[in-house]
Symmetry: C2
Subunit: 81 residues, 2 copies
């Protein structure tokens, strides 16, 4: 059993209204040190298999096809076998 | 300027319908090696300041108050000054 993590973020230049809203809320609470904030997604997976290279390749496919939207999002992943 | 990352996940035992839906979709696409999947949130912040300890303490406050819901979510963070 392997564990994997996928981090999905909006590409640079894509506007992030959710992040802007959270940023404004933090500033209104007095957290003026926050200069910028962007919101992404994070997924933790359990995968059957021991072949790290194969798991990474399959997880890359899953990310491209379903987990992320490659038009507007970047993703990176970590696989621990 | 410091960079920080906050990872927010549902606590163990809290059901994750979004994760279950994504898991089912992956299996329907033939990714049968995925045994479990949980969805969380991921935030990237830019913070003014150089004092790592102070930034971590403030970011912990922000996470407790606004970024995460500590009743049902856990969070962890990384601060790079």
């Amino acid at each position: 059993m392997a564990r994997a993590r996928v981090y999905i973020t909006l590409k640079e230049g894509i506007s992030d209204p959710q992040g802007k809203t959270v940023l404004r809320a933090l500033k209104s609470l007095g957290y003026d040190e926050v200069a910028d904030l962007r919101v992404g997604k994070y997924m933790e997976l359990e995968l059957d298999g021991e072949d790290k290279g194969k798991l990474e390749s399959r997880l890359g496919e899953m990310s491209e096809k379903l987990l992320a939207n490659p038009i507007i999002e970047d993703y990176r992943m970590e696989v621990e076998v």
